[in-house]
């Protein structure tokens, strides 16, 4: 496989996975807008949740590296949720389809479990492009150094590790997550590049 194809798959996988798994469903009637930027791409993603069980979204992607712009339609369905006094766990099925080609789509599962102090998540996505089919797996761990109350600033130290069946090696890198009110921001660095992710709910 050429380096060109590997790069395409890598960038598409980074784009799809990181945005898809972050708070994929809002409250019933709620909307979420996300902006993501890294060294190669930027994207704008909006999703609406008609119900707490699923969301429908559309994403505009500007691939600056390959000078390619396209739109992707996405949906996430809540398979199950566990609420306890001190924790919440979620299991989702998610999928997306590029409007550019019906041969470009993905689907998979995403799960998370969190307390006010700890956060864990995993995802496994099967991705199909016009040139390759592959699987991507990801794990996130997070720790809140202090417990913020409602309406206060919340800060998380996060660690992400991911692997796909093409490169077949785990890539691990840290990032920071902050949220206050309806606004969330993630910032991290990987391979000397800054990744930025911004989200607002309304």
């Amino acid at each position: 496989m050429g380096i060109y194809n590997k790069l395409i798959i890598f960038f598409v996988s980074v784009l799809i996975s990181e945005i898809t798994i972050s708070r994929p469903i809002s409250w019933s009637g709620g909307s979420t807008f996300m902006y993501k930027s890294n060294s190669m791409i930027s994207s704008y993603y909006y999703h609406f949740s008609p119900s707490y069980k699923y969301s429908l979204g559309v994403e505009y992607i500007n691939d600056r590296y390959f000078n390619n712009q396209y739109v992707s339609l996405k949906s996430t369905y809540l398979l199950g949720r566990s609420n306890t006094k001190f924790s919440q766990g979620n299991l989702y099925f998610t999928g997306g389809l590029s409007t550019k080609s019906s041969k470009e789509y993905y689907y998979g599962i995403h799960g998370d479990w969190e307390t006010r102090r700890w956060f864990t998540s995993f995802s496994q996505l099967d991705k199909n492009t016009s040139t390759h089919d592959y699987t991507e797996r990801e794990i996130q761990l997070g720790f809140a150094p202090y417990l913020g109350e409602y309406d206060e600033l919340h800060s998380w130290i996060m660690l992400k590790t991911k692997k796909d069946t093409i490169n077949d090696n785990w890539q691990t890198y840290p990032f920071l997550k902050f949220f206050k009110g309806d606004y969330l921001m993630e910032i991290g660095t990987k391979d000397s590049h800054w990744d930025f992710h911004y989200m607002i709910r309304f």
């Binding site: 708070r23 469903i25 709620g30 398979l79 979620n90 799960g111 995993f122 409602y150």
Partner: protein, 139 residues
């Protein structure tokens, strides 16, 4: 490593498959316990209310009634944002206070509101949490 983690998460998530049932289970289980009398405790699972927090909450409210709701799954501020937004759609809601630490939500209603635990539980379910009990106090 990944498989081990995946198995762990799935095991943790197993009770979740009754998510809706879980919510409805509580919903029906507590139904017979509901009382709308002043200061009536309606659910044995209701944990101790921080009276200082309650007094602060009602300090600027002259009359009405306050529902003190015990909520499960309210561990993330960003995920709880919809609680205020959806409750405030009801014009009879005067004020809301969310406490992540105690897992409680205080909702001040006008006197004319007929408060129903079923309605409250439905709103929490729509926001991703589970209401497991409540107490109603008249001001």
């Amino acid at each position: 490593m990944y498989k081990l983690f995946l198995i762990t998460i799935i095991i943790i998530s197993i009770p979740s498959y009754g998510m809706d049932n879980h919510g409805n289970h509580n919903h029906s289980d507590h139904h017979h316990n509901h009382q709308h009398d002043s200061n009536a405790g309606v659910d044995g699972s209701l944990t101790q209310l921080d009276e200082k927090m309650y007094q602060q909450f009602i300090s600027d409210i002259n009359d009405g009634q306050v529902a003190i709701v015990d909520v499960n799954g309210m561990v993330c501020d960003f995920c709880a944002r919809g609680i205020e937004k959806t409750f405030y759609r009801d014009e009879m809601v005067k004020k809301i206070r969310v406490s992540l630490e105690s897992g409680k939500v205080l909702i001040a209603y006008s006197n004319s509101k007929k408060i129903s635990f079923e309605e409250i539980a439905k709103i929490f379910l729509d926001n991703g949490q589970t209401a497991v009990g409540f107490e109603l106090r008249k001001l």
